[in-house]
């Protein structure tokens, strides 16, 4: 008979316990009881005399709802037992807010344990008499038993709310030996809680830092879920495309359009280090290996003071914490690329992780088709790599040195008997990052993090359409510093003070038409040749800012209300090498401008009941101009920061512990957006003017089922509208990538025997396009030029796509092989992706996207 039995190994205590309980590094969690032992629900030690003014744990957390993990079928068949040690973050309401594997027992056991523990409900810990968030270590044991199970004890359903499951004197009450509050099924006979005295030796004392609150409105997906979503092809970060508020990217673009903001307005951070891209060219893959990712969070707006320099959304990639759990790794390959990742530890202090990936599509495709396929269609090539090394300076302090590299390349040449139709396209983006992170957790729970980082970015675009060149080369050096202190000066108040500094020194060259490459708001049709009026420019620019910020988290009314005021003070300095276009050999005249901004942020959450939370947020945000826009020929050197106000309000309703519904309304306005000068003869060095304004508003709904019994998924629907006004007297028009309706449904289910199936449905309004109402014949260039109607007055037809995924895991000892088939566009629907016209614009059609696309892949891990 199979039996899963948990054992609570240790409690994370507040600082008052720290000094007495752990003379050295916390011991690895140890099973104090036989395998059948039940989870402890008691505090395990009497607190020692706390230091004056130091928060003290007055009540330990207590498990009141236990959920049994299904025994993985393959392992059960193989007669394998295992134990998984997890670090569990328990929120102030007793819900499990974070779970991560500390000691792995293999992917299947890990996943089952994670699924179950996420459904646990605790009675929250108390610090100084008030509920507080803490972190514990928990060992989930999978034990095979031969005897039949005893009759299951009556218990609430797994999804029942904690308060309903907790009554005084029921099993699980402190001091009451027996099963946990919701033992249910086989685990009802799991045994008794160990005596407190025995448990004392099992304590791992980890000082609890004040909770690093997530953004008020955000969606976070854990890596082990993200990689199992259909359509992501195992890439955790591709799940961002499926989160609420995210528009469907134009096919192959890999861009993120969040709440109607331009893609460049959304910033991407990897553990606090800004990176220029989230996805490789074409959106095929993300730039960080999935095995190194712990979770990804998307805050579409209204985020807190620690982040700025962007007027759109915020994507935060959290890297996996590095634990001394031996040597692990994975290799994977599919039609797109091959990758490998390993992590290891050396001694008690050193930990390492390395990952690398390289695409091979460009090599495989000609083998399947013809050698000149790359001539007809651009095939992206990419690579990326990440390396991390951390050293534990002490129990509470560590340093980490990390680095990331990424490269994307596209080359294509189209030959023609017509010289004006010969085209070449060459694009590349290479970048790297190096960071050094120092982290220290003080005895009082305060956390200090200092992360200096730097890197380079090189972007090249070299196109030639007939005799018309388009070239843009940007070489940048980026330096940044992120330092923060987060502490709890008194109960109920958490403060964060920090500095977020970043400087970009860019050197740029550009040649070609002023309208190529096109920018948002340009009226054109797909495939239209660029203007043959060309120019060149070369310039450099430095954009720097250092933003001290402060944020508080004030807990009121028994922690039911949180008020998070924040303030960010950010002086920007922008300098450039050339104020006016080059004229002969006249020396260039540089310039420097300054812009000092103060950005208030405010967020409020209130738990109206254990089921209902309401929230609201406001923030002012600024964003420096793109270095590409600071050209005296193609742009304007005197562009300053753009700004945006975000207003949002929403409510979260927890139907069960694993099922919730969240609705959020938002309104965002932006101003100072660079737009093309509407003048027939723009002023010198003012081809761009900062008269653009924007507004986006809408509502998004998220219904999410956390993983339970092998099933997870979510449905998100966004109804939104994003508009732009290019000049003050103009009417608002639709944003080029506006999408009124975006619906995404994701579901994944593990049906047993290591088999998992999933599906994703996406429905999205087509993006706006400007209708062509006529054409004129351009006798000089021998082509027809379109006559346009009202800007963005029509749309590409709607996009509807169903993706499916099936995976089978095979376990061989401590190793695992996963084989998956990811089928995009399973119904083979011809989705219009772009509008095209006949040569004289007398007829219109639509380019359709992917037909059914099966992608077979495999991943071997140990």
């Amino acid at each position: 008979m199979n039996r899963a039995s948990p054992a609570l190994l240790g409690l994370v205590t507040a600082a008052a316990f720290a000094a007495l309980a752990s003379p050295g590094r916390a011991q690895p969690a140890r099973t104090a009881q036989p395998a059948q032992s039940a989870p402890s629900t008691q505090p395990t030690q009497a607190p020692a005399a706390p230091q004056a003014g130091t928060p003290r744990l007055t009540r330990a957390p207590r498990l009141v709802q236990f959920v049994e993990a299904p025994y993985p079928e393959a392992e059960k068949t193989a007669g394998k037992a295992a134990s998984v040690v997890l670090r569990v973050g328990i929120g102030v309401t007793g819900t499990v807010e974070q779970v991560e594997v500390v000691e792995s027992a293999g992917a299947t056991f890990d996943a089952a344990a994670l699924d179950a523990v996420r459904q646990f409900v605790f009675e929250p810990a108390e610090i100084d008499g008030k509920p507080a968030a803490i972190r514990i270590l928990y060992r989930y044991e999978f034990v095979l038993r031969e005897e039949p199970p005893p009759p299951p004890a009556p218990a609430p359903a797994p999804d029942a709310l904690a308060p309903d499951a907790l009554t005084p004197g029921t099993p699980g009450t402190p001091g009451t030996p027996g099963a946990p509050g919701t033992p249910g099924g086989e685990s009802a006979s799991a045994g008794t809680a160990p005596p407190a005295g025995e448990q004392g030796d099992d304590l791992e004392i980890v000082v609890v830092a004040p909770p690093d609150r997530k953004q008020v409105v955000s969606s976070e997906i854990a890596a082990d879920q993200g990689r199992r979503v259909a359509g992501t092809q195992g890439d955790v970060l591709k799940v961002v495309e499926n989160l609420p508020g995210v528009g469907r990217a134009a096919v192959g673009s890999g861009q993120l359009v969040v709440w109607g903001a331009a893609p460049q307005d959304t910033r991407v951070y990897v553990d606090g280090v800004r990176v220029p891209l989230l996805y490789h060219y074409g959106g095929l893959r993300s730039v960080v290996h999935s095995d190194l990712v712990q979770a990804v969070e998307l805050a579409p707006g209204g985020y807190g003071a620690p982040y700025g320099r962007g007027i759109g959304g915020l994507v935060s990639v959290q890297l996996r914490s590095m634990e001394p759990d031996g040597f692990h790794g994975a290799v994977a390959a599919d039609l797109l690329d091959a990758s490998a990742a390993v992590r290891a530890s050396a001694g008690d202090r050193w930990r390492f992780a390395v990952a690398a990936r390289r695409s091979h599509l460009d090599a495989l495709l000609p083998a399947f088709t013809s050698a000149d396929v790359g001539v007809l269609f651009p095939i992206p090539r990419y690579h990326d790599g990440q390396a991390r090394a951390s050293y534990a300076l002490s129990q509470r302090a560590s340093v980490e040195l990390g680095g990331m590299i990424s490269g994307d390349f596209i080359d294509r040449t189209v030959q023609s008997a017509d010289p004006s139709q010969r085209k070449s396209e060459s694009r590349s983006v290479t970048w790297n990052r190096v960071y050094l992170r120092y982290r220290h957790e003080a005895e009082d729970g305060a956390v200090v993090t200092v992360t200096p980082w730097g890197g380079t970015e090189e972007t090249t675009l070299t196109n030639r359409f007939g005799g018309t060149p388009t070239a843009l080369t940007v070489g940048s050096t980026v330096l940044g510093l992120r330092a923060s202190y987060r502490g709890r000066p008194r109960p109920g108040l958490t403060t964060t003070l920090g500095l977020d500094a970043e400087a970009v020194s860019a050197s740029l060259k550009r040649a070609g038409s002023i309208t190529a490459p096109p920018r948002e708001g340009d009226v054109r049709v797909f495939g239209q040749p660029p203007s043959d009026q060309i120019n060149v420019d070369g310039w450099s620019a430095v954009l720097a800012s250092a933003a001290p910020y402060a944020e508080a988290d004030l807990a009121l009314l028994g922690d039911r209300v949180h008020i998070l005021p924040g303030l960010r003070f950010e002086p920007y300095v922008i300098s450039g090498s050339r104020r006016t276009p080059r004229e002969g050999d006249t020396p260039s005249i540089g310039y420097a401008t300054a812009d000092i901004v103060l950005e208030p942020r405010l967020a409020i959450t209130a738990d109206l009941s254990p089921r209902v939370r309401v929230k609201a947020a406001y923030g002012l945000y600024h964003q420096p101009p793109q270095p590409e826009d600071l050209s005296a020929v193609f742009g304007s050197p005197l562009l300053s920061t753009s700004s945006a106000h975000h207003f949002l309000a929403g409510a979260l309703y927890r139907l069960t512990t694993t099922l919730s519904a969240e609705v959020t309304a938002f309104y965002a306005t932006s101003s100072g957006l660079p737009a093309r000068s509407p003048l027939p003869a723009p002023l010198l060095a003012e081809a761009l003017v900062q008269d653009g304004r924007g507004r986006a508003y809408g509502v998004q709904l998220l219904v999410r089922k956390e993983i339970a019994s092998g099933f997870f998924g979510w449905i998100t629907y966004s109804l939104m509208r994003s508009e732009r006004q290019d000049r003050p007297e103009a009417r608002f028009r639709l944003f080029d990538q506006d999408q009124t309706h975006v619906l995404t449904a994701v579901a994944t289910y593990e049906i047993g025997w290591g088999v998992e199936v999933g599906a994703r449905l996406r429905v999205a309004s087509g993006m706006p396009r400007t209708p062509v109402v006529g054409a004129t014949y351009d006798a000089q260039r021998d082509l027809y030029q379109p006559i346009f109607g009202a800007q963005n007055a029509e749309r590409i037809p709607a996009f509807v796509q169903l993706d499916a995924r099936a995976a089978k895991r095979f376990t061989f000892g401590a190793t695992e092989l996963e084989v998956y088939l990811d089928v995009q566009n399973a119904t083979n629907r011809g989705n219009p992706e772009e509008l095209v016209y006949s040569y004289d614009y007398s007829e219109k059609g639509a380019i359709t996207g992917l037909p059914i696309l099966p992608s077979l892949g495999a991943r071997f891990s140990w």
Partner: protein, 366 residues
């Protein structure tokens, strides 16, 4: 940037490749293109095929002649064409090659030139300010604005609007190349350009039928002699290899060849340059390369557009790039399957705004 026709052509050449491609890579998502009717080379309705300015390049205040090639499948005479210079600059926010305000019959920004297939006019005095490298006149209270960028050959163009009074009325545009200075060059470079640069000359094209490895010249259609015999008599569906040719232009100045080319002037060769005349092929010329910040020697790109009232042409347009010294370009015309008469037009353009054309008449007989 991919034009629909290019995509269609690409698909046509890939044959059965496409399904396999699409099954393998998400990068090919733009590959499923619709089948749109019509090709530029198919003359199914009356339309303007080309416009020529004579001379092909002139300074502001010079008189130029403009003529249009208007073709109809049935050989009908062209409708009235209303000509005008457009003297409004096109804002950066407007696509196309001419200010949209000039695409209306009586806009104040239009300077009328007359009606007909041929007109004459004086290039506006301020062409180089409005459409060239000279800074435009300052607006009250504002500094002078941005100059217009040159085309890849360093040229600037006076917009011309044609209103074809057919059913329905249609617009066509043209750019008459104007001789202006150069922006962003040093005074020495500007002086060098003034000395060495020679105005463009319209190219001329001839057509021949290639068979047995030999070119057989085809006599062009003569509008003044409608009873002249056709260029050739073909059988239905006959495949006709065609070759368009233009004159070779001397790379090295040769006094006495009748061409006043780059680096020739009246001092060096009075015979050729007293009345400057250019070459009717791909002319060498000098231009200012802003990227290299130098005056460079270049050669014109030649494009040949093909039009037929019936049958099918393999390519809509062929030509020679700057680095290709050949003076011919080939195409293949498959004659229609039905007996009758078919007309063919060959339009040659150089990339400095020069244009020339010939028309041919064929009899299709079993």
């Amino acid at each position: 940037m991919v034009t629909p026709h290019l995509l269609r052509s690409a698909l046509g050449t890939s044959g059965g490749l496409l399904p396999a491609l699409l099954a393998l890579t998400p990068t090919l998502t733009t590959a499923c293109t619709p089948e749109l009717e019509g090709r530029p080379s198919e003359l199914r309705t009356p339309r303007v095929l080309a416009v020529q300015a004579e001379p092909a390049e002139a300074a502001p205040r010079a008189t130029i002649a403009l003529r249009a090639l208007h073709a109809a499948p049935d050989g009908a005479p062209p409708p009235p064409i209303d000509w005008a210079f457009c003297v409004a600059r096109k804002p950066l926010t407007e696509p196309g090659t001419i200010a949209s305000t000039c695409l209306s019959p009586d806009d104040p920004a239009l300077a009328p030139l007359g009606v007909g297939t041929e007109v004459q006019g004086v290039l506006p005095d301020d062409g180089c300010r409005l459409f060239g490298p000279d800074r435009p006149p300052p607006v009250a209270g504002e500094p002078a604005g941005r100059a217009v960028d040159p085309d890849p050959t360093g040229g600037f163009y006076q917009p011309v609007r044609l209103l074809v009074q057919g059913e329905p009325p249609t617009y066509a545009t043209f750019g008459a190349r104007i001789t202006c200075g150069v922006a962003s060059a040093t005074p020495a470079q500007a002086a060098e350009l003034r000395t060495r640069y020679r105005s463009n000359h319209n190219p001329e094209v001839t057509l021949s039928w290639v068979h047995d490895g030999l070119d057989e010249a085809l006599p062009p259609d003569m509008p003044d002699t409608p009873d002249a015999p056709p260029a050739a008599t073909l059988t239905p569906g006959e495949v006709v290899p065609l070759r368009a040719a233009w004159a070779p232009c001397p790379e090295v100045p040769t006094c006495g060849d009748g061409i006043c080319g780059v680096d020739e002037d009246t001092a060096a060769c009075t015979e050729d340059c007293a009345t400057p005349r250019g070459c009717t092929g791909a002319e060498p010329y000098v231009a200012f390369d802003a990227e290299a910040s130098a005056v460079t020697r270049r050669r014109e790109v030649i494009l040949v557009s093909w039009f037929a009232t019936a049958g099918t042409l393999d390519a809509d347009r062929t030509g020679r790039a700057e680095g290709e010294p050949e003076t011919t370009t080939d195409n293949t015309w498959t004659a229609p399957d039905t007996p009758g008469e078919a007309r063919l037009w060959v339009v040659i353009r150089d990339d400095r705004g020069g244009t020339g054309w010939q028309s041919y008449r064929f009899t299709i007989s079993p």
